[in-house]
Symmetry: C2
Subunit: 222 residues, 2 copies
């Protein structure tokens, strides 16, 4: 069965978003510092239609995280817009403009039903109100032989981690403090559901910590 793979950037003090997230500041105060390591990379630039960029150890990790993904699951907060029911007159279509960088089906966890959204470049957004299990089943079906990416945010990731449904977790640990905001590893107790550290890639700007169940990740080397 295809794997559910979480990738997320986290500060040294455990935050995956800064405080005071809003439509105008989706990452919260200081949150952009979590992504400074990825923006210069060729792998990130090409995903956003830009040329050039750096090729380094982090780039290989990003390329690996993008490879073999057939569908994405994300939380409502990551898809964005004001909380609560969708604005029927001016429906929010995500942060990414007319041609988002996914190019495959995306399933958005929400409490508020809404028809699917089709954008350019093979990007479709399906809004799932039946919970994380249903969203994962739909995403796995859409992904076929490929894996499913769990894109965040914190609350969606926590729900899948709590349920033991995450097969791989790549934490990009950024050597900075945010001080407050949303923590990734909260409300999970002390249970990683068998996820073990299977690979570390160290760079000055970020430490990539890959967790997996060893039996399912025999190709990984430490």
């Amino acid at each position: 069965m295809s794997k559910l793979r979480l990738k997320i950037s986290m500060s040294l003090d455990g935050f995956v978003a800064g405080p005071d997230q809003s439509v105008s500041n989706p990452l919260g105060i200081g949150g952009e510092r979590l992504h400074e390591w990825v923006v210069p990379l060729a792998a990130w630039r090409s995903m956003h239609g830009l040329e050039g960029g750096e090729v380094n150890e982090s780039a290989k990790v990003v390329e690996e995280s993008q490879a073999n993904i057939g569908a994405t699951v994300m939380g409502r907060n990551m898809f964005g817009g004001h909380p609560g029911p969708w604005d029927a007159k001016k429906p929010w279509t995500g942060w990414w403009g007319a041609d988002p960088p996914f190019h495959h089906p995306v399933f958005v966890l929400t409490h508020h039903a809404r028809p699917p959204l089709e954008l350019e470049g093979g990007n479709s957004f399906t809004f799932v109100t039946e919970g994380i299990q249903t969203a994962l089943e739909l995403a796995r079906h859409a992904a076929g032989e490929k894996d499913v990416s769990l894109a965040g945010g914190a609350k969606a990731a926590q729900q899948y981690l709590s349920a033991g449904l995450v097969d791989e977790m790549e934490i990009n640990l950024v050597p900075t403090l945010l001080g407050s905001g949303e923590r990734l590893l909260e409300g999970l107790g002390d249970d990683l559901h068998g996820l073990e550290l299977v690979r570390t890639v160290a760079t000055p700007r970020v430490t990539h910590l890959k967790y997996a169940r060893r039996g399912k990740a025999s190709s990984d080397k430490l």
Copy 2:
């Protein structure tokens, strides 16, 4: 001037001690998992008067952290015993028995005055009620040309980090969750006071993240 060097083991979710710390369980529930990586090492065993043990990448980090240390500062909670005034009839003498592993002067932050304690092997404990600055000055004086180790616990580390007095910070990041307990990086806001990630040593059991001010740590390589 001699450096103040913090070394501490932290879980992936940011805890340096588990919940429900007590005299019978000083590391809190699950807290011993933070130290499983260090106990098999020859460097740790020799520090505790034991022979044999492993020599690996972590051992080099431990040896480095023990080298050139002339004095230690620690919080009352790390020295241990029941909180509040000292028991004059049966004074607490620390967790470490008659011959603690420091072999140099130790300065304990406390709100409760107490005469110095002399144990075997060059171990002396001085109880400082005048705050972190005074404790650091006393420790620096005692250390002479050598550095001062900041041994923890969380609250003592936070006070020195908040004041910008920590020159080096080695976080031994353990790939496990504790779920609750005492966090290291709390109440510091988003300010590392110039500490930057200068070296990462990756092993399957622990990731050693060394932070320093670059100008003061030019011999470190990434």
